[in-house]
Amino acid sequence: MQDVNNIKITAEIVKEHGLTPGEYDRIVGAMGREPNYTELGIYSVMWSEHCSYKSSRFHLKKLPTEAPWVICGPGENAGVIDIGDGQAVIFKMESHNHPSYIEPYQGAATGVGGILRDVFTMGARPVANMNALRFGEPDHPKTKHLLAGVVEGIGGYGNCVGVPTVGGETNFDPSYNGNILVNAMTVGVADKDKIFYCAAAGVGNPVVYVGSKTGRDGIHGATMASAEFTEDSEEKRPTVQVGDPFTEKLLIEACLELMDTDAIIAIQDMGAAGLTSSSVEMASKGGVGFELNLDKVPQREENMTPYEMCLSESQERMLMVLKPGREAMAHAIFEKWELDFAVIGEITDTGKLTLTFGGEVVGDMPIDSLVEDAPEYERPYVPTPKREVADVAAVNDLNQAVMDLVGGPHLCSRRWIWEQYDHMVMGDTIQRPGGDAAVVRVHGTDKALAISTDVTPRYCHADPVEGGRQAVAETWRNITAVGGTPLAITNGLNFGNPERTDIMGQFVGCLEGMGEACRALDYPIVSGNVSLYNETNGSGILPTPAIGGVGVMADSSKMATIGFKTAGDVIVLIGDTKDELGSSLYEREMVGNNTDNPSAPPHVDLALERRNGDFVRALIENGQVTTCHDLSDGGLVAALADMAISGGMGVSANVESDLPLHVALFSETQARYLIAAGAEAAEEIRKEAKDAGIPVQVLGTAGGDRFTINGGAVDVAMSELAAAHSDWMPSFMAKAS
């Protein structure tokens, strides 16, 4: 077994490791010799797209990552922002797309486990999980199975570790038929002076392995996640890792307990490429070397080779550097929590990763070359062509359109999904799933965090720059709509094959738009993850830069929710409506869109976004409004329907507009909100808006048992609308496939 290192490295083996001949030559150059098999494996994962960001780094550097409240931006396990009172919020989003397609339960579960570790590694107690899910069209034979498995996996893991899954989004589109997207996000809270980083320090200090034992799980998962899917990758099942949320729960408690002492110098979770990437990262950040004795690695299976131990993706494991002399105390904590604890090496001054096994050196690589010499590609790209503004036709039956959209797969209630997640554990969830943003109180305070995940892939596909802007702006708007002040974002950038110039063009465009929005809204990017090669047999997904935004509210008792609260409350629309049905949900669902040449999506005016949003947030903060909803997919009608259904009462609205009615109702013009308040308060708000130069229109009142717009142009019974909204997903999932 040990003699895998005697295997002669051939061109074929290099290719199997996902390395190009040019990259291999670069390795030989960096090492001054041919690598052995174990070393090749280590280089292959460190230089994979997943670990090295070789196609994306050049462009990611252009994103804004700083603000006075940013404590730590991208580059660590997760981003850290200051929320005042000596507290910090630590959060990140990560994709687990390929594993979830192959084995939806375990793929999604381990995605949740991995992102939780990224957050508690830095000293935070995780307080909320979110997700952004994309599946193929509902009729595709795999969709139901994948959706059921992913939801069960997210719940199975999150429920058991006891971190509430408070929200997310779920979309369907044929482009995800063969390549679903599972992006998981974790938000944690830490004391500002108790944040842990991964830079190792102190020659001679012990390197400690804690958590689960190492098995042959997911070997080469990191390279799998960077290779395009083909039909036969469905055969790759054995490389999927299995999660153990019970161990993760113990690991959270043990790590947080140890973090309360002063024993830890550096800590890093073993994520993709396990032991290898964690030790390389810690050594690289600290500018030191690591010597690891692989015989000491706790092993679950027999006869594991150094190659397997280094590349295993067994879950629920962490690597730490401790202060000398603290091993026994740390060991006792992990023993209490029934977790493995092993000193497996020490820090050296060699600047190398040196691996010994059975008394022999089985790997010896310069750390710098593993990290800094990783190739960086400035891939050629072609910007997505500008799109024509569409003149989108009216439908004959508006009532039917309302019923079909609100009661269809894209706008229907996601209750079937989130009722399978424990969204209340930890006792601080004050806004449950189904609203604009989830709201979780900061434990023991009146403050709260508002969290939202969003992106509209239709827009990103039609116009990546607008789409990038819109994704950022929509999370900002959602956080605003509950009364939060948006602070920073994380992202899961899901794209197709970057070696294709048009895909690379989408990537560059989306990043450009995201960057603009972040700057304009003072809303920097503090962490994130890139997932490329999301395509099957050459057919790529819609560009999907999922954004996870986090905001804070000082007084959580002022929080707004979407449901109408009192019959007779006056409904007010904030923001102008334009003729922007291009690439809208209405266009795609009601008249059909041209996927090869989509129409221009709504324009995002960031200054307007900010002005309208700041106005609405002030209303909530002042206690003038507790009912608010932002407008997005499906436009005004969809938002009104959400508010009516959630509040359990009808609507009588009159929309005054120069636009054709179907445009006024379904246009997806950005920077708009609906609010509802008592008659006097609403009149006061209308005046304030007018004085501030904010477009405002009183639409009508909440109440009654019908959903009526413009004197019957739309008129459906609330009971029918609500039933259609709530029933689509459960009946879809109950249908035999």
């Binding site: 429920n159 729960k249 009722e419 424990d422 209340m424 930890m426 006792g427």
Partner: protein, 220 residues
């Protein structure tokens, strides 16, 4: 009122229970680790929700055999008020302190939502403050809350007033809609819904409070 919250590896509503007890009784509860053989004298013992031992083998099975449970059983048999929520209820049935078993939900899905319940017996030490309430709403969050017992046991539970709470809708397939039961003596309550998650309007209601205030009133 001095209480203890028993903490097993994998408990995850222990903090929620402690917060609720402190808020309502005014006294911070004692947190007792599962490996302890004994703990200070308390007036009330709570077994919290969660996934003790990952719910592996059977929910609550391994916790029911832990060191601390020997002591909990002894005290419960001596009459100390003992309260198990969700996983705590599962532990209580696994110890045999309460009859029956909790099986996988009939639709096989985890379910987390507010449920309507009737208080079937307001003469217990856990439910007296609910007298006059025709319906209460408290959330559930479980995968295995489908209460099962044989017909004789069910008849006995009903006849002796041991059914404390009953779901008003079918939530998990539980026999006769049983959501919570007491032992014959009335000092042990196990229930799947989480009253500790419904103790202030910000959570969507306060219907859970009365369970704790009932016990406080009884203990004086």
């Amino acid at each position: 009122m001095k209480s203890a919250v028993i903490v097993f590896p994998g408990s995850n509503c222990d903090r929620d229970m402690a917060v609720a007890l402190e808020k309502i009784t005014g006294t911070k509860p004692l947190m007792v680790w599962h490996q302890e053989h004994t703990f200070d004298t308390v007036d009330f013992v709570a077994l919290p929700g969660g996934f003790s031992y990952g719910d592996y083998l059977r929910c609550g099975a391994m916790s029911a055999r832990s060191n601390v449970m020997k002591e909990v059983i002894k005290r419960a048999e001596d009459g100390v008020p003992t309260f198990g929520v969700c996983n705590g209820f599962q532990v209580l049935t696994e110890t045999g302190l309460l009859p029956g078993a909790l099986m996988r939900n009939a639709n096989l899905h985890f379910v987390c939502k507010d449920v309507r319940m009737s208080v079937e017996n307001t003469d217990t030490m856990f439910t007296s403050d609910y007298a006059g309430d025709s319906e209460i709403t408290v959330p559930v969050a479980h995968h295995d809350g489908n209460y099962f017992a044989d017909d004789d046991t069910l008849d006995r539970l009903e006849g002796e007033g041991q059914v404390a709470f009953r779901y008003l809708d079918d939530i998990n397939g539980a026999q006769r809609g049983i959501a919570g039961i007491t032992n014959a003596r009335g000092n042990i309550l196990g229930m799947m819904p989480h009253p500790e998650r419904m103790i202030e309007p910000a959570f969507g209601g306060s219907d859970g409070r009365k369970l704790f205030t009932s016990v406080m009133n009884r203990l004086g």
